[in-house]
Symmetry: C2
DNA sequence: CTGAAAGCGCTTACAG
DNA sequence: CTGAAAGCGCTTACAG
């Protein structure tokens, strides 16, 4: 391998001069700089990452913790991952992908071995077992997903409370007075998916406030269960005119259910979902939805993390909790309810 | 950070003895070993990865190159990624995920900076621009996907040629004599998806050999195009009794098309696809299919790579091209053709 | 069975 | 504006 010593020799300077010429950390004459650059080019020099990390205690690597859970829609996960890796690369960092069962152990291991400069955690649960080690390791960490206790970490998530309100408000504004809200299965909540009840609770509160009759159900997350569930809900509430979906499987199953019941959207039923744009494209879903903003969340998370790593954020300053305001991607599935 | 010097001091031995006690590379008395281990435990020692890499020229990190292309079904990609990262971890390696636009540049950069011990390339095209740098960098590389030129790399893929034959043979064995084969769009082939014509060519050859009438089409990969395409193919060949799908979008769109035409499977039409099991689950697809074996391919690729890195494979020995034999996952969508 | 020392390649404080 | 030297933490050949 070619080292900075080789570069220095080829350029006829000392190793320190070669190093400074490349880093720009002290003024080097243009002629010398040119010779160094030429040598780098000609020899194909790339600094040894291990040596640099050993010296500087900076690795230019971020750890990305993804949890691959059943029930979870994979393309959405991939979008987060892509958002994170792309942004990291733009900012000069590589990404170590950790899908370890043993999340807490992996955090300690990677921090102890000084392999990474910081951590991005995806799919964060209400009570997440990775948070305790993360807080203890003294390396910055950013979460995508809002846990119960946010101290010591930066947090980015969709504002699910505002999302619940927005769904109900929007449908109410169109004239709907009876709605069905379909949430993820209860075991998603039990595993720590607090976003499910966050959205449902605010939806219910807003419905109460507006005098809307809102029926809330947990439902299966995949076929055939979810199809049967949807039929059951619609049977139980024949006068409901709006369907709010915080359950990706329900959105995917709905077109078949509508066809079986001979319902047309938005003529007979108005529908709004909460899922990512890739999800909509993958299943060709014709329903308006609040976008999960996966790539934006991944992007913001990395920017914040790198700002911290590189000292652009005062360590004493309070941590960020950024909840992205929901935006409805309109696909034309909402209208005034049918006249009675 | 705690170093091996701290451990040595706590155990009352020299740094070299501490190191040897941990690596086991030379005999150390049980008492001393115990003291070292206790010190490690108590101090929470983890070796500094950069220092170790600098000394040993081994990083215990693999680079995983994923290409996120449109048209590509993401869950399948995620399955490969999971197969690779999990296997790597089991073998003591971390995984650097690279989704760089600049694949060739990233290979040179990571190799030059000695950040990784080897490369796994996903989604390899017939003529892949990452192969030239990979061959030049003198670090082992394993491909998932069969390129035109396999020299200097280990290759793992599903045997698409055998898959084409198997589809036709199996349907022929059930009595079918006229079939439709639906391939991915032509631009997938143009981008280097040679597996498309590999499967189609052997299917056609086998059909000729068996006297089967096989109609081959390229089709769109997503709705609404693919639905229209399927209708068109079925209209054009009213006597075809079997449908062979080497196009995930076609498989996902087929249930709706069948319903619209009032066709039942396998009574009116026998169907076989080629897609992963997660894909089938995600879309609740009721069709028998040749599994893409994503996790198995990822697993084998990493095992082979690590064997090479760790010198368990003679560098002079020829490289591997392992094509996994297709297996049909039977979901009951194939039967004898309807009596005329 | 154990220890003192060298050196991997880099950056940066020290010296001029 | 440039150079010689130290030291990051590790492993291993050298010495006993």
């Amino acid at each position: 391998m070619v080292t900075i010593g080789d570069v220095a020799k080829a350029a006829g300077v000392s190793r320190s001069t070669a190093s400074y010429a490349l880093s720009g950390k002290r003024p080097i004459s243009p002629e010398v700089t040119d010779r160094v650059l030429a040598a780098v080019e000609q020899l194909g020099y790339t600094p040894n990452a291990g040596a640099r990390a050993l010296r500087t205690s900076q690795t230019q690597v971020l750890a990305l913790f993804a949890r691959f859970v059943e029930d979870e829609f994979a393309p959405a996960m991939l979008e987060y991952i892509k958002g994170v890796t792309d942004t990291a690369r733009e900012l000069g960092y590589d990404t170590l992908l950790v899908s370890d069962e043993d999340g807490p152990g992996a955090i300690r291991r990677l921090s102890g071995s000084q392999m990474v400069d910081g951590f991005v955690l995806l799919n964060v649960a209400e009570e997440d077992d990775r948070l305790e080690p993360l807080r203890s390791v003294h390396r910055p960490g950013t979460l995508v997903g809002l846990p119960g206790d946010t101290h010591g970490v930066d947090v980015f998530d969709l504002d699910f409370e505002a999302s619940g309100r927005l769904m109900v408000e929007h449908m109410h504004g169109l004239g709907h007075r009876e709605m069905i809200l379909v949430s993820q299965p209860e075991d998603v909540v039990r595993r720590g998916g607090a976003y499910v009840w966050r959205l449902a609770d605010t939806a219910k509160a807003k419905a109460d406030e507006l005098g809307v009759d809102l029926h809330h159900y947990f439902a299966a997350s995949s076929q055939p269960g979810i199809g049967e569930d949807l039929h059951r809900f619609l049977d139980a509430h024949p006068h409901a005119t709006a369907l709010l979906l915080n359950n990706e499987g329900a959105a995917a199953a709905l077109p078949a259910v509508l066809q079986e019941r001979g319902l047309s959207v938005p003529h007979d039923l108005s529908v709004i979902g909460r899922y990512s744009d890739v999800f909509a494209r993958t299943f060709s879903l014709p329903f308006s939805a609040i976008d999960s903003a996966a790539d934006r969340l991944g992007r913001h998370a990395v920017q914040q993390l790198v700002d911290r790593i590189e000292g652009r954020i005062d360590a004493a300053a309070p941590h960020t909790v950024e909840l992205i305001a929901p935006e409805i991607h309109d696909r034309g599935s909402m209208a005034a309810p049918p006249a009675v």
